[in-house]
């Protein structure tokens, strides 16, 4: 293998480039990124970066003296893959010939239809998104967060600490019920009301209202979020946190099988030889769940490239090791929230340590008596012990 391209220059892409070098690949390495920034860390964007306690230099993922021997093509988007010629086509017309390809194009924030061009409406996915939102939050005012998932909750927490008046609107009856189950989702999302942030659940958003057309092509600023039950919530700033969709349009017609992202085996292989996929765009087979799962967790983007690169370099001849149970964290209102495993398969959940009223909880999810997931709130030590047990029990 003489030339490998990594398409995507965020955590998964950088981790793949590092894995390639670590595993002995010494050929041409091209990293293609549609953002103009060098790889940076996203978790702080909704927390420390938004709060102003970390700056852009702190977000850099590369070490100061790191030299990967890679060609970086930044600020340019991959537009297509020609399988016959093994060429990645870029939106600016350039072509990169490859023997091996790592797809790491991530996911893009879902937006609210009808919000285009309305000032004061934000999503939060990229550094540029975070810069714009940070500048706006600094001016203060009333913030409405649409979506009570982790991004929405972290933005609400950060904005509350900055002194804004915050409302969170969630369409489901309980926020976080998907990842955490209804019982624990209710406990974690109670952090909002603990701190005087309004939480409106079980009601959808009909649309946004905004200022009059000031001039052609400009719609003025948002002034309210309109709910399906007829209420209108005044807003100076709106953050839309309603999930992300995998960025795989550029692969349509390429022969890479797509199904909720790039469909992958348990080792990252795709339907095309010499092509693997990692990170948020990759729908990996999870042998533990017996199904494909597209996991948008930082730790997956960090850990899975090792396996995918081994697959790529060995031509698919390696047996994947058992992956660790999925793990993610969140920080809200000063509480460290940690979760590992799959809540969906559980038939019970019990608080083993701490107290719900103190928002200090170690909860274990079980299926037929066996632990399948664990949740910690301000319990890093115990959580780590349980996470280790979970990995041992299910590997």
């Amino acid at each position: 293998m003489r030339a490998v391209a990594v398409v995507g220059a965020s955590l998964a892409g950088l981790s793949a480039a590092r894995s390639l070098r670590k595993q002995g690949y010494d050929g041409r390495l091209v990293v293609i990124g549609d953002e103009r920034h060098r790889p940076y860390d996203r978790p702080p964007l909704s927390k420390e970066f938004l709060a102003g306690t970390l700056d852009e230099a702190d977000l850099a993922l590369e070490a100061d003296d790191e030299e990967l021997g890679a060609e970086w093509l930044l600020g340019t988007r991959a537009a297509g893959l020609d399988r016959g010629e093994r060429v990645v086509r870029l939106a600016d017309g350039r072509k990169v010939r490859v023997d091996g390809l790592v797809i790491a194009t991530g996911a893009a924030a879902r937006r609210l239809p009808g919000a285009e061009g309305l000032a004061g409406v934000h999503v939060l996915r990229t550094l540029d998104d975070a810069r714009a939102l940070r500048d706006e939050l600094a001016r203060g005012g009333r913030l409405v967060v649409i979506g009570g998932g982790f991004i929405g909750a972290e933005v609400a927490s950060t904005a509350h600490a900055l002194g804004l008046d915050v409302t969170v609107v969630e369409a489901a009856p309980t926020p976080l019920a998907g990842p955490l189950g209804a019982a624990m989702g209710g406990i974690v999302s109670a952090l909002h009301t603990d701190h005087g942030v309004r939480l409106l659940c079980g009601v959808g958003v009909k649309g946004l209202s905004g200022g009059e057309h000031i001039r052609r092509g400009a719609r003025g600023s948002v002034d309210a979020v309109l709910l399906e039950d007829g209420r209108s919530i005044p807003a100076d700033i709106v953050v839309v946190g309603v999930g992300a969709r995998p960025c795989v349009e550029w692969l349509e017609g390429s022969g890479v099988e797509l199904d909720n992202g790039v469909k992958c085996g348990a080792d990252g292989r795709t339907s095309l030889a010499g092509v693997v996929a990692v990170g948020d765009c990759a729908n990996w087979y999870d042998p533990r769940a017996g199904a494909h799962r597209r996991v948008e967790h930082w730790t997956g983007a960090r850990e899975r490239p090792d396996a995918a690169v081994a697959t790529l370099l060995a031509g698919g001849a390696v047996e994947p090791g058992a992956p660790r149970p999925p793990y993610f964290w969140s920080d809200q209102y000063g509480v460290k929230i940690q979760f590992a495993g799959h809540a969906a398969g559980a038939d019970s959940v019990a608080v083993e340590e701490g107290a719900v009223d103190d928002r200090n909880v170690l909860a274990v999810y079980r299926r037929a008596g066996e632990p399948v997931a664990v949740l910690g709130m301000n319990q890093p030590r115990l959580f780590t012990r349980w996470r280790k047990r979970l990995a041992a029990a299910t590997s």
């Binding site: 730790t299 940690q338 890093p380």
Partner: protein, 120 residues
């Protein structure tokens, strides 16, 4: 300066003991029976490595995924970028001691800001 930590018999294999000096230092007893001392605070964010996932000669931060080599203090992967200090371990009369490094510690930005009076 040589500081007594705890009795060797009180630190089982696979466990860590956190010494509350400033900045804190942790002593790890590996499953192979070796003893190492490193700075307890992850260089990425304020987290106690004594609470972390000990495997072989590496400890993984309890919050995020960076692993530190107990022998060298080196970090393997983001989000941490800088190593932790290592400290000399001496066992005398069944008691573990550490001789604290005189190098400057690599504290996380949030903690460094707090120590200099900034907000965190």
């Amino acid at each position: 300066m040589k500081i007594p930590v705890c009795r060797l018999a009180d630190l089982p294999r696979g466990e860590a003991f956190r010494l509350d000096i400033d900045p804190p230092v942790s002593v790890f007893h590996t499953d192979d029976g070796e003893i190492f001392a490193i700075d307890d605070t992850c260089t990425h964010q304020d987290a106690s490595l004594a609470d972390g996932w000990l495997e072989g000669c590496e400890v993984e931060c309890p919050l995020h995924a960076s692993k530190f080599d107990l022998r060298t203090g080196a970090v393997d992967a983001p989000p941490a970028k800088r190593p932790v200090r290592t400290h000399e371990v001496v066992v005398e009369d069944g008691v573990i001691h550490v001789r604290v490094s005189t190098d400057a510690p690599n504290l996380p930005p949030c903690l460094a800001a707090r120590l200099t009076g900034g907000s965190a």
